[in-house]
Amino acid sequence: MTLLSVKNLTVAFFGRSGTVNAIEDVSLELEPGEILGMVGESGAGKSMTGAAIIGLIEPPGRISAGEIRLEGERIDNLPPEAIRRIRGRRIGAIFQDPLTSLNPVLTVGEQLIETIRTHLKLPREAARARAIDWLRRVGIPAPEARIDTYPHQYSGGMRQRVVIALALCAEPRLVIADEPTTALDVSVQAQVIALLRQLARETGVAVILVTHDMGVIAETADRVAVMYAGRIVEVGPVAEVLRAPRHPYTSGLMASIPRIGPRPEVLPQIEGAMPRPHARPPGCAFAPRCPHRFVPCTDERPELTGTPVRSVACHLTTEVPA
C-alpha cells in the first residue's frame, strides 16, 4: 500500500496584506522504504511541504486545500493531540542544524528515553537499553558512557547522528529529513548521508530528503521531486531526471552543478530570480527565466501531467510532443 499520499496540498499564510500561498497544489506519493529527494532553491516550498506533512505549520499559516494520507488514513485534519501521537511514532523528522536541534540542558539519554517512552510503553530500563542501542546504530562510540552526557559534549557530526537516532528511535514508517547535512562540514556530510541510507535500508523507513544539493539526491534518493515557486514541476526516478530532465528548470539546475574535470570559464546559471510567493506570474512561474518559453507560457499555467512515477509541468512536453 502507498505509504504517503499528498493530493493537491496548498498551504496559505493569512497576513494583513492578504493571503499568500507558500505551496500550491502539491501532489506526491511515497512507497514504503522509498527515498524521495526534494530539490529546489530557497523558498521553493520544500521545507513547507515537509512541515505540512508532519503537521507543524505555524500560524498564521495553515493547510487551506488538499489532503494528506498516511497508510490510507487522512492526517491533515486531525485534532492536535492525534497528530502529536503520529509525530515521532509514525513520521519522524530530522532538522537542519544539529547544533540547535538538541536541548542543551538535558542529557542525550534523557531526550532519547523521553521520546521512546512517549510513544512505546516501555519501562525505564528497557527504554534506556533501547536508547543505547540506537546510539550504537547511528555510530556513537561507547554509547553506554555517552548516553549520560550533554549535547555540547558532542561534535556537530555526532550531534546530527543523535538527531537521527531521536527521529528513528520510535521506529516511524516515514522520516522527513530537512536539509540534514547543510550545516555540517563537507567531510561529515557524506558520512551522515551514508548513515541515513544504511538505516533506511535496515529499518525499511521511507525518507523525504529535502535538500538543495543535487549531489546528495543523486547518491541517495530513488526518486526526485523538483519544486519551483511553491509547486512541483517535475517528478521522476533519479537516474532518469538526472540524465534527461524534461523541465527547463531542472535542466538549468543540472547545468549549474559544478563538475570535476576541465572547468568552463563561467559556471552556467539560471538568469533572474524565483518570484516571491505574492508576486507569482499568472502563467508558468518559471516562464520569465525560461529560455524555451513560447506563447502559452506567460498566460496559462501548465499542469503536472504524467504518472505518479514520472511527471512534469511544462507546456513544452504537453503542447509539443517530443
Binding site: A93, T100, P104, V105, L166, A167
Partner: protein
C-alpha cells in the same frame, strides 16, 4: 568546580576589602572624631592623648587594617547614638528584615514564574492580557505609593490588616520571628506585598519574554516534531532553559529587595535593619552606617556567588570540570 569556587571566594574578599575601605573612609568624612569626644576647652596635649588612646595617630593603612580585622570578627564598635555595640543592634534588627525579604522573595517567585508561563503560553487570552497591563502598572508605580495605597485600602477602609509594626513575635534564641503568631503573620502581609510587587512583575515579564524566546528555538520545534506532550515541552524542555536568566536577575534583585526594604520599613515602621539605617543617617551614627554598608555588601556577594553556582546546576555547558567530549 572547586577551582571556580576558590576563585570566586578570592574575588569576593577583594570586593569586601574595597567596601570596607569605603565604610572606613566614611568616618573621616564626618570630621575629626576627637573633637566630639573631648571637652571643648581641652588642651592640645589632652587631644593628643585621646588621639593616641584611640590609635588615630597611627598611619591610615594601619587604622584601616585594624578596622578590617575587627569587622571580620563582627566588631564595628559602639553606636554613637546609644553607646551599644553595633553588632548587637544589627543582630536585633536582622531577623525582621530577613523575614520580610524572605517572604517577599518567595512570593515573587511563587507567583511570578507561573504567571510568566501563563502569559507566554496563552499570550492572547484575557487573563494574560490583563496581567500584562497590571504588571505595567506594578513596574512603573513607586513602591512607597503602592505601600500607602495598601494601607489605605486594607488598614484604613477595610480594617483587615495592621498598618505598622511586626505584630507579636516569638524569640527563638536570638532570632525573633513573626511566623508563629497570627498577628505576626498578618503584619507581614502588606509590607511583603509592597516589597515584592516590583520583583513579581519583573520576574513575570522576564519569564514571559524568555519563555517566548525559548519556544521559538529549534530544539523546541524538534521536541514537537518528536511528538512529545505539550506538558513536557513547556515545563521540562522550555522552563529549564528559561530559568537560567531568571536566576541571574532574581539573584541581583534579591540584593535589591534588601536595599528596597529601607523604603518598605519606613512606610510600615517595620523594626528592621533598614529602619535602623535611616535612623543612623539622621543622627550621623557612622559606626551603624558603616556596619550596615558592610553587611549588605556581604549579603550581595554571597548571593551572587550562590547564583553563579546555581548556573552550573542548571546549565551543563558551564560545568567546566567535566571531561569534554571530542570536538
Amino acid at each position: 568546580m572547586l577551582g571556580f569556587l576558590v576563585r570566586r571566594v578570592i574575588q569576593s574578599v577583594f570586593v569586601m576589602l574595597a567596601v570596607a575601605l569605603i565604610a572606613f573612609l566614611m568616618f573621616r568624612f564626618m570630621g575629626d572624631p576627637v573633637n566630639s569626644m573631648v571637652a571643648e576647652n581641652a588642651s592640645t596635649e589632652e587631644r593628643a592623648a585621646v588621639r593616641e588612646r584611640l590609635g588615630l595617630d597611627q598611619p591610615l593603612w594601619l587604622q584601616y587594617g585594624r578596622f578590617v580585622a575587627r569587622a571580620a570578627q563582627g566588631d564595628f564598635g559602639l553606636s554613637w547614638r546609644n553607646a551599644r555595640p553595633v553588632s548587637t543592634l544589627l543582630a536585633e534588627r536582622f531577623p525582621a528584615t530577613a523575614e520580610l525579604v524572605l517572604v517577599a522573595a518567595v512570593l515573587s517567585l511563587v507567583l511570578g514564574i507561573p504567571l510568566g508561563i501563563l502569559t507566554a503560553l496563552r499570550p492572547r487570552s484575557f487573563p494574560a492580557q490583563s496581567l500584562q497591563l497590571i504588571s505595567l502598572i506594578g513596574i512603573s508605580l513607586p513602591t512607597f505609593v503602592t505601600g500607602i495605597l495598601l494601607i489605605l485600602v486594607f488598614s484604613v477602609w477595610l480594617g483587615w490588616l495592621p498598618s505598622f509594626g511586626r505584630g507579636d513575635v516569638v524569640d527563638i534564641g536570638w532570632w525573633s520571628t513573626g511566623f508563629f503568631t497570627l498577628a505576626g503573620l498578618k503584619a507581614l502581609i502588606l509590607p511583603s506585598i509592597m516589597l515584592c510587587l516590583f520583583q513579581l512583575t519583573l520576574i513575570m515579564r522576564l519569564v514571559r519574554a524568555e519563555m517566548l524566546e525559548v519556544l521559538r528555538t529549534d530544539y523546541i520545534k524538534f521536541a514537537r516534531a518528536r511528538g512529545l506532550s505539550n506538558r513536557s515541552i513547556h515545563f521540562r524542555h522550555a522552563l529549564k532553559n528559561t530559568l537560567i536568566p531568571v536566576i541571574t536577575i532574581f539573584g541581583l534583585q534579591l540584593g535589591g529587595l534588601i536595599a528596597f526594604a529601607i523604603v518598605t520599613e519606613t512606610v510600615f515602621q517595620w523594626p528592621g535593619m533598614g529602619a535602623l539605617f535611616i535612623q543612623a543617617v539622621s543622627f550621623g551614627d557612622v559606626p551603624v552606617m558603616a556596619a550596615y554598608l558592610v553587611l549588605v555588601s556581604l549579603i550581595f556577594v554571597i548571593i551572587n556567588t550562590t547564583v553563579d553556582l546555581l548556573y552550573a546546576v542548571l546549565d551543563p555547558r558551564l560545568r567546566v570540570d567535566g571531561a569534554r567530549g571530542a570536538h
